[in-house]
Amino acid sequence: MSAVDQPAPNGARAAAIKPIIGFRNISKRWGSMHAVDNVSLDIEPGEFFALLGPSGCGKTTLLRMLAGLEVPTEGHVLIDGQDMSDIPPNKRAVNMVFQSYAVFPHMTVADNVAYGLKIDRVPQSERDNRVQEALDLVQLGHLASRMPDQLSGGQRQRVALARALIKKPKVLLLDEPLSALDAKLREAMRFELSQLQQKVGITFIMVTHDQDEALAIASRIAVMNKGSIAQLGTPSDLYEFPASRFVADFIGSVNMFEGTLISDKPEEATVACPDLSPYVVHVPHSVAGQEESTVWVAIRPEKMSLHKDAETPPAVSKCPAAHNVAKGEIKEISYLGDISIFHVMLANGRLLRISRPNRSRWDQDDFTWGETVWVSWDGSSPVVLQS
């Protein structure tokens, strides 16, 4: 441990940021079920990190192994460089906000928050000060003597937050922190959580199945699927450059076309998709993958535009003619206020989803049900996926 405190002899090593959390080839099996399958991951100090995935993908198991509440079948968990294999949860410098908040129902708010300090034998006077401080931090200072059953869900969550933060953990773990709140409160708490994280400067790791939540709060996200990490990156990386069909589909909504890569040159690649025939998809850069192999083209709904019916396809910038277009009929319009979602059916019956902002008060009248339209997209919009 002393090596950390001394000036590192090797300049290059000192320059690299030392991860606060390290997962090393972690697996967790229950019988024949692989909950977590050989995951390795580093999390850096000060990050707001999110583990995102559908239910049963292993994200909660990973978090619980970090807290010490589950024991990995294989691999090691490192906290601040130290192997946690033989360290029980009550000796780990991480604290957790549980999904159900797990606020002790037989203790007052103040007693709940003070619980961890009492165990650490912090003297009464210091304890009282720190409890008040922690409660003020989550804006519950005035409710210290209430019992948990007199609190709302949001307030209970704040108690759980204060109770964990008062221990000054190296990392705060949040298991689906917002899932039990109603929609309005959830929105407000997202903002508060990231404010709180900046204020206390502790690494936060959050587990969530809600992609909006992860995109809104996290500085970095690991998308998990079936026990493995499908993609690791910043929110915009994941949204704009998904690495697989799973990630493209799980984060945001997407129009996906199966097709064949027909040409792949350094400045241009083309994919023929049966759904879009006779037109082809053109991208102004090369893609990974062999010619004639099966690939998938993913295009986000807001990156497509609608055009009134005309004899010839609309011109698309930076694209040769008859590329990146499709013709169809509007089957459904969902007016959502800020945007409208159009469902356009192609000649072969395939439905496309296109979203369009309502910039003026009359934008929603531009297109009507049953109208025949052209759909087009910019050459830089599609993502070509191998898997």
């Binding site: 029980p88 009550n90 957790m96 999904q99 002790f104 964990a164």
Partner: protein, 304 residues
């Protein structure tokens, strides 16, 4: 709509009369007769004069009977304590057992609970009597020990004298614990099972050890169930008849045995009736105490 009103009234009466009638005629009335008898005195072999005398209660409070009463309470309390100590880890282990094992473990606890009390007591006699299994095992161990002693060059232990395990107070407490253990485990299991596991995890996460978590989180939250278990064990143990009768000696009679003697042998029914009602009052006092302890709290759903 008189006819509909009449129909409703008929339905209500058809629902209400049979159970209320039954409980009044075949339960409350017999108890009332016992109560009345407790204020009476024998005038001839078969006749009792209900004269309103308190002589029977006065006699019941004499040191001899008061002593038996206090002893019954002590034995029942000791039984309850032992059941709690033995049963709590069992309930905890079942709560945390794997899903597929849990019904079977519960079945294992419940099966003796359903088995005939007389048979279970009889089974204990075979274990505890002078030439029973317990002494048989002890003798075997004694012989092995003796053999070991000669092996290391010491004098053998001498002749084994069987221990007197039956017909004493030890046998009564042993038997009562044996019989009442399931009464304790089941409510404890129900109470522990309802505790949100994440509360215990939160306690561990905040730095508490297992013992600390047990005493500051699990026990307070399971307290209604623990109290239920204590009552459910204590009440029948206090009124136990068969166990002290079959396993106890002359000095280990409990209150129920004294009551039985008044009715079946001594033929002093008024005095037996007075003792019965004292036992009932003691039982009700315990139950009232529980209600008092649980006041203000919402119903926990598994009271008695």
């Amino acid at each position: 709509m008189a006819s509909q009103k009449q129909e409703r009234r008929l339905t209500f009466l058809a629902t209400a009369l049979p159970p209320i009638g039954w409980v009044v005629v075949f339960f409350l009335a017999p108890l009332a007769i016992v109560w009345a008898y407790s204020f009476g005195q024998n005038v001839s072999l078969t006749e009792v004069d209900i004269s309103g005398t308190f002589a029977n209660y006065a006699r019941a409070l004499q040191p001899l009977y008061l002593g038996i009463f206090l002893k019954s309470i002590f034995i029942a309390a000791l039984t309850t304590l032992l059941c709690l100590i033995i049963g709590f880890p069992v309930a905890l282990a079942i709560v945390f057992a794997e899903e597929r094992w849990r019904p079977w473990l519960l079945l294992l606890v419940m099966l003796p609970f359903w088995t005939n009390l007389l048979i279970r007591t009889y089974a204990l006699i075979a274990v505890l009597r002078t030439n029973g299994f317990a002494n048989f095992t002890l003798e075997w161990l004694w012989d092995q020990g003796s053999w070991l002693m000669t092996l290391v060059g010491l004098e053998p232990l001498g002749e084994f004298t069987p221990m007197q395990l039956l017909y004493n107070n030890f046998a009564v407490v042993f038997g009562l614990v044996y019989v009442h253990l399931p009464f304790m485990v089941l409510p404890l299991y129900a109470a522990l099972d309802r505790i949100d596991k994440s509360l215990m995890e939160a306690s561990l996460d905040l730095g508490a050890g297992h013992l600390r978590t047990l005493f500051s989180i699990v026990v307070p939250l399971a307290l209604p169930g623990i109290i239920s278990g204590i009552i459910i064990t204590f009440v029948p143990a206090l009124g136990a008849y068969l166990t002290p009768d079959l396993l106890g000696g002359p000095d280990s009679q409990m209150i129920a045995n004294v009551i039985e003697r008044q009715f079946k042998r001594a033929n002093d029914w008024p005095f037996g009736a007075a003792l019965s009602f004292l036992l009932m009052y003691a039982t009700f006092a315990v139950i009232a105490l529980r209600a008092y302890l649980a006041r203000g709290k919402s119903a926990d759903g598994h009271g008695i």
